[in-house]
């Protein structure tokens, strides 16, 4: 079955990720979000400037 697009919390039986790995994912997803927003913003700006 296809996993849901919006991710739920870890299930009770899931192995716990090491803190460093969680933090890396946190940083990667945050930077990814930031870059996506910036890319759209600059693309829109390029349309009008």
């Amino acid at each position: 079955m296809k996993p849901p697009t919006i991710e739920g919390p870890p299930e009770p039986g899931d192995p716990k990720r090491p803190l460093g790995e969680s933090l890396l994912w946190f940083a990667a997803l945050w930077v990814g979000g930031l870059v996506a927003v910036a890319a759209v913003a600059y693309a829109l700006r390029a349309l009008i400037v």
């Binding site: 870890p10 969680s22 829109l44 009008i48």
Partner: protein
Amino acid sequence: MEFDALLLSRLQFAFTIGFHIIFPAFTIGLASFLAVLEGLWLKTKKPVYRNLYLFWVKIFALSFGMGVVSGVVMSYQLGTNWSVFSAQVGSVIGPLFAYEVLTAFFLEASFLGIMLFGWKRVGPKLHFFATCMVAIGTLMSAFWILAANSWMQTPHGFAFANDGTMVATDFVQVIFNPSMPIRFVHMVLAAYLTTAMVVAGASAFTLLTKKAVAESGTALRMGVLMMAIVAPLQIAAGHESGKVAHEYQPAKVAAMEGWWETRTQQPTLLFGWPDEQAETTHAAIGIPGMGSWFVAGDVNAELEGLKAFPKEDRPPVWLTFWAFRIMVAMGLAMVALGVWGAVVWALKRIDRATLYHRALVLAAPSGFVAVLAGWISAEVGRQPYVVYGVLRTVDAVSPVAAGAVATSLLFFIIVYAIVFSAGALYILRLMAKGPETEERAPEDASEPPGSPLATGVASASAKEG
């Protein structure tokens, strides 16, 4: 009425902001609701909170996306349709919009990725942090936008440069202009109330259709609690906002109230038909002295009517008057629903109060109606100025042809009708489906859904029946 570039530009801005405002008004409250749900899940580990979170976060993501798309259009219009306004006041309120993007929009947009796609990857605590950041981001966004809009209502902390443009002399006064604090409170409470009405309405609908009873019952209680607390607070905040408006924009308040004559014991009109030609309000039914008491705290206070202002300085009266009444009527309806909800809750009948559930479904859009009506009364009441008392709307419009504005307006109407109707319908379908649940589906019509709460509710109903 001539459909010139000015009127068409105003219609276009009103149309696009009317669509835009309903999304932030919903997502500001929904982001905080999600943070509360996740916090409760972290504390109690009850699946009901997780299921509700996963249900409402989908609706939040869709609404957030539609809010962003409709917001981009508005910023473009400041350049295309209101270029003189931008040139005149850009040095003052341009930075406020920039701060909104840099401190608020980037915060909510960048943490949204973790919120949607990172719960397993980053773990529950970091995910909760991201949800809180999104909630704080939406509130900060409201802060900056309300600072900019309130400055247009009560401009402070600026001066004119040699070239006639406005420049900020004190940014603290620009941001915390006289109407900003109470208008910010009024808007945030409106957003929380809008969300409470939608959450309660959607939950009442799923309870009526017997879906996800445990989740729907919990969300219904949260919505009713919010309604019962926030609706009366909102009435008080609106009252304070009215007092500030009267101090700085007395013509706006006179138009909202339908007052033409300057007199003591100004009434609060419950109904009336303002007539700008005849300078009177026909068929007025009001409570004498209540208007003076509301605004000045004294029934005998003398307050200005519209005739005290030159005709060219008066806002359109009919629209301001009726938009204000619709907003107040919606507010009072929400207070009544909050009280009704508190009573059925206290009587332990909240899960099976069918009539109340139907009323909540009917009232689900009331927050949006109130926000739109309030926005119309505030912005139409600000006319004929774009920056109150300083820059007239007629002097702020771009030197564009009416045909060009009519074309873009038509384009917006068609595109918005398609895009936002599709989005809104999808959201309504999601709401009708209800949250995912661990409840076992009933095997026959007489069997209640399988959660302990639902079973309890059904047993109680059976006993009463």
